[in-house]
Symmetry: D2
Subunit: 354 residues, 4 copies
């Protein structure tokens, strides 16, 4: 049995912070020992948190005090999870890495640093080797590892097995995302009731850029030239769960059955290593005509919310297919993805008891 690792959660009262707290409250060897926050320092976590998820605030955590985001106060912390917002995250995460902490970040600020992994543990686990280079180049004892944008994961997870095994030409993505992806207070209610809200070029491009990098980092069975991706992103009045419709085009005729098999059999290091937060299947396929649905499929898998549900798999023409995915954005797409990354890093020797 492993020794217990102590975790600090930055932004612990936020929408991803609460999922870290919830998921770690049952973790076999990672235990929350430090709840960092901003506005509510000194107050009991249970009094200040907006617990917008399933279950109840774990009782022992509810009584813990929210503390400052200061590496010098975290002597006995072994891992730092950082779901801080864009802009705020960058310098804070660097400071923690300098102070020797392994930082698992769900924030965009360092996602495209050349020496920082952008990790989906099932897809590009070998990229954690970038950490060696990062520590050497930056002369840090700690390091930063990032996980992709929640919506990028909802597209990249089903696209990875397809890209790895078939001659893809492109993918045209349309997302219908939930409100929690924008944090709190996030989207004003008057923008979303009786409306569909486009997120605009900037968000579209971010999604394309992240999915591209991740697919490029897969280990492929075939040579792949560049593929062409397009994304159109939106929010609607759902609380959790990002929905995506993906049309995939190929350079040669494809068989929908082979695509189905590659999705169904998709599995990676986390499954091989039997990591505690790894779902048995990263992709759960459904054949139902009107599934997946955000409400009914976002909590799929075990741990709940760690599997992406893929369905509506259809051949459009000889070289084009369509599929649909639902991902739980704050679980698989953020906190759960971060915990799974931490488990992989522990297994590979990148994180240990200090």
């Amino acid at each position: 049995m492993r020794r217990i690792l102590k975790a600090a959660i930055l932004g612990s009262t936020g929408l991803v912070g609460i999922e870290y707290v919830r998921m770690l409250s049952n973790h076999p060897y990672i235990k929350v020992s430090y709840l960092a926050g901003r506005g509510s320092i000194g107050k009991p976590y249970g009094e200040v948190v907006r617990w917008q998820t399933i279950g109840q605030i774990p009782k022992d955590i509810a009584n813990m005090e929210v503390k400052p985001t200061d590496p010098k106060l975290m002597d006995d912390v072994d891992i730092v999870f950082s779901p801080l917002p864009q802009g705020a995250a960058g310098p804070v995460e660097e400071e923690f890495a300098k102070h020797g902490f392994p930082v698992i970040s769900n924030s965009p600020d360092h996602r495209f640093d050349a020496d920082v992994p952008l990790l989906i543990p099932e897809i590009n686990p070998h990229t954690i080797a970038l950490i060696d280079e990062q520590k050497r180049k930056r002369d840090w004892k700690g390091f930063i590892l990032t996980t992709p944008l929640c919506a990028a994961q909802g597209a990249a997870i089903p696209l990875a097995p397809i890209y790895m095994n078939f001659k893809m030409d492109g993918a045209f993505i349309t997302t219908v995302q939930s409100l929690s992806g924008a944090g709190y207070p996030g989207i004003p209610s008057l923008d979303i009731v009786d409306n569909v809200l486009p997120l605009g070029d900037n968000y579209d491009n971010k999604l394309v850029k992240e999915v591209s990098r991740i697919l490029n980092e897969t280990k492929r069975t075939i040579d792949q030239d560049n593929i062409s991706l397009g994304a159109t992103t939106h929010r609607v009045a759902t609380i959790h769960g990002h929905y995506a419709v993906i049309y995939v085009t190929f350079k040669e005729d494809i068989s929908i059955e082979k695509i189905r098999e590659s999705l169904d059999s998709f599995s990676g290091e986390p499954q091989k290593l039997n990591l505690p937060t790894a779902p048995e299947k990263p992709i759960l396929l459904t054949n139902q005509d009107t599934r997946p649905q955000v409400y009914f499929d976002r909590w799929a898998g075990e741990p709940p919310g760690m599997s992406v549900v893929v369905g509506r798999l259809t051949q459009i023409n000889r070289r084009t297919i369509r599929l649909v995915s639902v991902i739980h954005n704050t679980v698989r797409g953020a906190a759960g993805g971060g915990i799974l990354a931490a488990e992989l890093l522990v297994e590979k020797g990148y994180i240990s008891k200090r």
Copy 2:
């Protein structure tokens, strides 16, 4: 000045029925003279109708009695508008056509009869000539003309100028549709709050089939082989207005600016003939990064709701573009489209005072 034509509205208390009533209350030469219904016969329209649209029930209409759906009671009616639901519409519309009425139908039952027009007045106006064949073959004094599925119109209207002028290869459509498209009671609330509801293969295929037929009936400046269409359709918790994301692929490199021009300058018979319900522009282009939005753009144009708003026009790669459209499903996509069709038929001599 034209003589006043008297119109009967079948299903007049339904969601499309009320738009017919609202739009015709100001019409220069079509006047509602018969409100047909089912459950509420004998009662004043204003007491039984669910007025889920803008404005108030026109006072003279509010006091009119709802009457049976019986051609024999409609001696002085010149036009029949039929937004009856699938299945119910078919035989009723035939009966009215047999009795000599011009029937403008928004229902699917006769959309693929070979001798029945499936009309978007700006796109395939010449297909009204099918009516001659229809009357001859069926030995009817009246006739049936249909308008397409609301969601098909939201895709076909922006695709038409592109298809007519450029070598399209295919189009991959994702719709996010409103609740009123399903009628009342329609979608159960528990299916839609905090959810995205896929409509399934049947609906997807219907949309593809209708858009294909309409595009095939355009007058093209270039030869077009077959194109490949895919559609993925959904409902979310919006009341009116269908949103569509469309990726269009081409057989040769295209220029986004030329596409933009073809959309911006798109216009048809209704504009040429200055029909009363024709919007100045069937397509209103927006360059705003987060528009069109369902709430803010569904009532675009004049008459309100008769223009389709198109935006997010973007080049994805040399041979692929992306655009987004918002259409008011019960106005342009149903009642308004039906009235515009009637006006074209009047102009072309297919409907006259009996």
Copy 3:
């Protein structure tokens, strides 16, 4: 340790049926052995159920076949839970009672039979004695016990300790109820998006009548004349959880602190007997200015959803107070209340292994 009792759930695929399945999947001595349904007989439960609640369908239950609602097929069943809809429930429940089954009903059909208990276990547990009279008069081996309307429970639970201990004059209730209370398909989405839907006189009166009966059946420390109740009931676009604002008037000056104490210390037979589904506190008081809220408080207590959260306790004038409650309508207000009733009946010897 108790012997395992086998339970049949009628209407098992409905919104209350699924809560019975979920809550009983961990029950110490009641086990689901028969899933009755209507439309989906012969199919695996997991394939046909709309699992609109937390957690996932228990795996062993998912594979069970849905079976007919027929007492003759339920030889080894010890308890029948009946969340059947109004009208359908009445004759079916009688048939089961005649066949010797204890029937715990969440349906209105028998709620006002003079010999049928209308039970909230913490409030009027002594009324289970009506069962003796019922069996004798009707010459049944089994019996029917009912639980009140979900919304009536949300009002009756906080009113009970007040009524028992203070000279109440009246209560003026306004409810804002969730969609699941109307079942599926239930409320049409077009009635509820961007709307507040009044439920009308019939529903208002039902609530008043049930709360009146329950309060009259409390054991009071003081004499009470008749009180006057008023209710105004609504639905809004919430999925689960009924919200109620209650103004309570008194015949003499009251102290808000004494009211608070009576609510906070409220407890009953289920707590005394330590029944497995009894929450430690039937009423959880909150002092937060903007709580309770439906989203954040409906799952309160342990088991989740079994406590009613009461807050906004305020003195309006010397003889009037205001309070607000949130109840989970399909848990405490239906399935959970039914299971708690069953546990009380087991404890009192009214249900045993057949």
Copy 4:
């Protein structure tokens, strides 16, 4: 015919600002000549405004430039409408009044100044005489007049005829308010989807205080001692329209029919003077069991949204009744109420061409 008065609208791009623009675009003698704003100065109004109301931005207004909130730039302005937010409004309004402008304010900052009217034109028109005192005491050429909180008007308008004619004892109000009442960005979407949001003591008390003042300023046919009011206020996911349930208690037995008559015949100065924005009936009574509803009744009256719809009128006991109201919060409850106030002031000689 009157001379045209030129109006400036402060906060013209806000949710009340747009209703001023919309309603004044057809006004017989008040014309928008100055659009003041903050963030978007120098830009065309049509490009920066979020037009969250019916109809389209009037074309002439769309091209007007948004300008600074500076009285020195408004030489030819005759009236200033100020729907500025709390805190910001106070000093700005004083500055405009000092500069000689009549300021009609929808903001709370001056509502309880002893020399400032808090006006509902049908209820307390004589209070405009306070303006004389205000100008004298403050030595201002201009003045400030305020209109009440939107939700207070939804309660005060139906309570006024009751209070004026019957021996009221108290009123217990529960509101279910729309999002637009909180402005933009206002309520975060994650607070309102699948939720009912209490507004807390501060808001409750504000409503009580305003309704009390207004009722005290009515001209009564009978002596009234103090009455006792209670309010519990909420928001739900509706865009426009505040809903209120009001239980009214009396000091003597009352007749529901007499109450009904007093509501139905309620009328005031604006109706007598036939002011352009005065609805024929300030209160529209409905007898339908499930009306009023927010979606269907908020635009009642002519001009649309100027009548309050009252229904569910029911006798609870000999001395208690229940009624329900729907008011359009940004129309009757804000901009429309402000314009009606301006018309009364013009008629009474308090505003004229400068």
